[in-house]
Symmetry: C2
Subunit: 186 residues, 2 copies
């Protein structure tokens, strides 16, 4: 019953705006989140569909001081990138795949969903907590992480940026294909 | 007893050359591997200290067709990179942190080692298998993934490559610090 009550609390706030000032679910994966939450053994606690971002990395790698200059959950075009004004910190072009955190009723249901995730290629997946709640983390492996700017200046050519975008869009597509496969397995 | 017998099998082959033609353990983390294997509840099944590599990515992202052009488990210098002859495939400069796979006696000991890993900053850590054996995967978060070459030609400047190396070396250092902290917690 504890699990069912906790699930109810999470479901009540699922589509309400959260602290990060956007709704808790990226619209690109609502179909998957709804499917998972329709199953008795699971509920999602956080999620990201996958994204392409421009992010500043402060000197001492303090995440709380990072700034997001751009963010998209789908394929992007060169013209979308804000390339006119840069901060002094190093700016990274980053692409990353889907991330899900899912509370599970028991270890067996947790293992079942991890196996499905691995099967479709979300290889960095596992049970990350078992004591208070059983939480599974599902991560895809697509990634790009390339510095593009330092000391306020761009350090790569437009051609290079366009190639980064080409590669990032390809990875977003792979991530999307896996996401749909995972949905069909659920 | 099953666990103890399996551990014995793994320990017997730990420092013998494996199929990948090098010994199974990077010398930079032998101290940690030996510590983990000295504990009754654990044994390591695979490991990587963290690395900087140049790797070709074939068109359809088929891992088995990837070629390693360069690999180092420690900080590198610009002069070490083989920059004279490039293949036709896209070449990526990649840095990644420590990865460990550890078999655990039970779920409790698995959760204990995951908690320690997370505490030192190996955030992508979890229990990835529970059915036949209980296997924990511990991954650090440092990463760089930047294309540097396509169609046989370098697409970034020497200055950019030097900055990539600077950033990669910094991440290797952070990874090393976490690895030592993890060792002290074990």
């Amino acid at each position: 019953m504890v699990f069912d009550n906790e699930k109810k609390v999470y479901m009540d706030k699922l589509y309400k705006p959260d602290k990060s000032k956007k709704t808790t679910v990226d619209k690109e994966i609502i179909f998957l989140i709804d499917k998972i939450n329709s199953l008795l053994e699971y509920y999602t606690t956080s999620s990201c569909a996958g994204r392409i971002v421009l992010i500043t990395i402060p000197k001492k790698n303090r995440k709380d001081l990072s700034k997001w200059l751009f963010s998209s959950h789908k394929k992007i075009k060169f013209s979308e990138l804000p390339l006119t004004k840069f901060p002094k910190e190093t700016v990274y072009f980053r692409q990353e795949g889907l991330i899900l955190h899912i509370a599970c009723k028991d270890i067996e249901s947790a293992q079942k969903i991890v196996d499905k995730a691995k099967f479709v290629g979300f290889k960095r997946s596992g049970i990350m907590a078992t004591s208070k709640r059983i939480i599974v983390e599902i991560c895809s492996t697509e990634k790009l992480e390339a510095p593009i700017c330092k000391n306020g200046k761009l350090i790569v050519s437009d051609e290079y940026l366009k190639f980064l975008i080409f590669e990032a869009n390809k990875k977003m597509k792979q991530n999307e294909i896996k996401t749909k496969k995972f949905y069909r397995l659920m």
